[in-house]
Amino acid sequence: MTQSSPLTIDAARSAVQERKTTALALAEASYARIQKEDEQIGAFLTLCKERALEQADRIDRMAAEGKPLPPLAGVPVAIKDVMSTRGVRTTAGSKILGHYIPPYDCTAVARLEAAGAVVLGKTNCDEFAMGSSNENSAFHPVHNPRDLSRVPGGSSGGSAAAVAADMAVVALGSDTGGSIRQPASFCGVVGLMPTYGRVSRYGLIAFASSLDHIGPLSNTVKDAATVLRTIAGRDPMDSTSADVPVPDYVAELEKPVRGLKLGVAKEYFGDGLDDEVRHAVESAIDKLKTLGCEVVPVSLPHTPYAIPTYYLIATAEASSNLARYDGVRYSDRAAGVKSLSEMYRRSRDEGFGAEVKRRIMLGTYALSAGYYDAYYLKAQKVRTLLTRDFEEAFRRVDAIVTPTSPTAAFRLGEKSNDPLAMYLADIYTVTADLAGIPGISVPCGETRETLPIGLQILGKHFDEATILRLAHAYEQAA
């Protein structure tokens, strides 16, 4: 099956249902593409062909019996390597988990498979999802399929690249400070971060527990809606997964956008925003206006404080979460250690990369006696202010539109020696993670160098339906 435009979930499922192709053939085609392309791109860390072909066979037998297939039947998917997969190595992009084989499945992965999806393998990412360029992977960097000299964004860079290069139809990523939306923007695909609590985090390797979200990357908004519908909803295994009804996001897509109020905040169009990105995003907003949306200026005055707040809270939580890598139960242990203390220290020294160590240090410092109030507690208070900004704005608007990232994809190596410059790549995305609101990035044109640009649409808590509807309307009109 050759495609000029990328395969969608519906096209794959109906082709399998109508016996025009088989799930096996779709999986084999994906693997052939990975074989051909991925040496240059580096999107995958581990392939699980046996698991994929077993699942494909199960789907094909259902199709042969004429049974109605589930919504993602036969759809080749890729999973960011921070989500546990039973029997399939899960590294979080870290050397310290280089040999870890989880004994259970992440809920989001299990739900995809229960809906018929075929898991091809695990995608590369920044180590423990800490990074904005995928250069922090302990294994190898990912190259942007649109320009191999550029980064795919991060931390879900492998997932974004796998979808952009048609190696997978959709992928799961995780977003703690922008790690789904920013790589989606850099690679020219759709990336959705759901509301905090919308999707269970059970089986997600924790980075910052109050900020971690699982969500889809896809070629179309409709595919993102289909995946969200599949993975969303209460899971008793994650006590923070919310007991809020899950609407039919796909059906909701077709509702009109006319009359919706879109907030535009000047704080997201200030210094540091690349002119070409600004122009593309403003054109996208104009397009939404022609579709009948009303643009309303809003103010999110605490926005300049989002990055410092984020880098305190995320690192504080990370320093605590990553204490579990001790060389005892599942992480690698340094060789030749003679005492318990030496085992901890050397295993962590050897197992963690530079950025992970930096964040553990910053987080430990922010939580340490004498600094807790000045840093961690202060950041938690500013988090309240940032969240109130959105609450105020959402009294007057249905969604807020911004650029996803201040620039298009930068070059490999361009920011890797300057942590602060790298952190600023997340300037438009971190606030949504802090407030727990959903956000989507949808492609909105290209730079002169044909690099993709992303439009970000932020919504109210548990109102993914509205941002999906807007993104879909924009995508169809663009």
Partner: protein
């Protein structure tokens, strides 16, 4: 400089890392640069602002209720099995760098 070499050593110790001399020097530079940027939070008066540790106690809960009753949906029976069957001992030890079939094995804790 906010962070000194002594602080770096102290914090690395808290975090159970040794760090090489080169890593410590890099950490000193990076932590000072990042904390310098973070200092802008002090421009904000937060004396009357409640801290926010998480979002899940504010959204998606039963707002008519108070305290832990807001999370009543997350209650479960206190049963031996819990929500799922425990991992078998074999499975739980499978990823350990060193185990003897019953226990995780670690270097000696106390030297005599």
């Amino acid at each position: 400089m906010k962070v000194t070499e002594k602080d770096v050593a102290y914090v690395a110790d808290l975090a159970n890392m040794d760090l090489s001399a080169q890593e410590r020097a890099g950490m000193l530079r990076d932590l000072n640069s990042i904390l310098g940027y973070i200092d802008r939070l002090n421009e904000l008066d937060t004396s009357n602002v409640e801290p926010m540790a998480q979002v899940s106690d504010r959204y998606g809960v039963d707002e008519t209720k108070q305290g832990s009753e807001r999370f009543a949906y997350a209650y479960r029976e206190d049963s031996v099995e819990g929500l799922r069957k425990s991992l078998s001992q074999e499975s739980a030890l499978e990823n350990a760098p060193d185990a003897d079939g019953t226990f995780f094995r670690v270097p000696k804790v106390i030297d005599r």
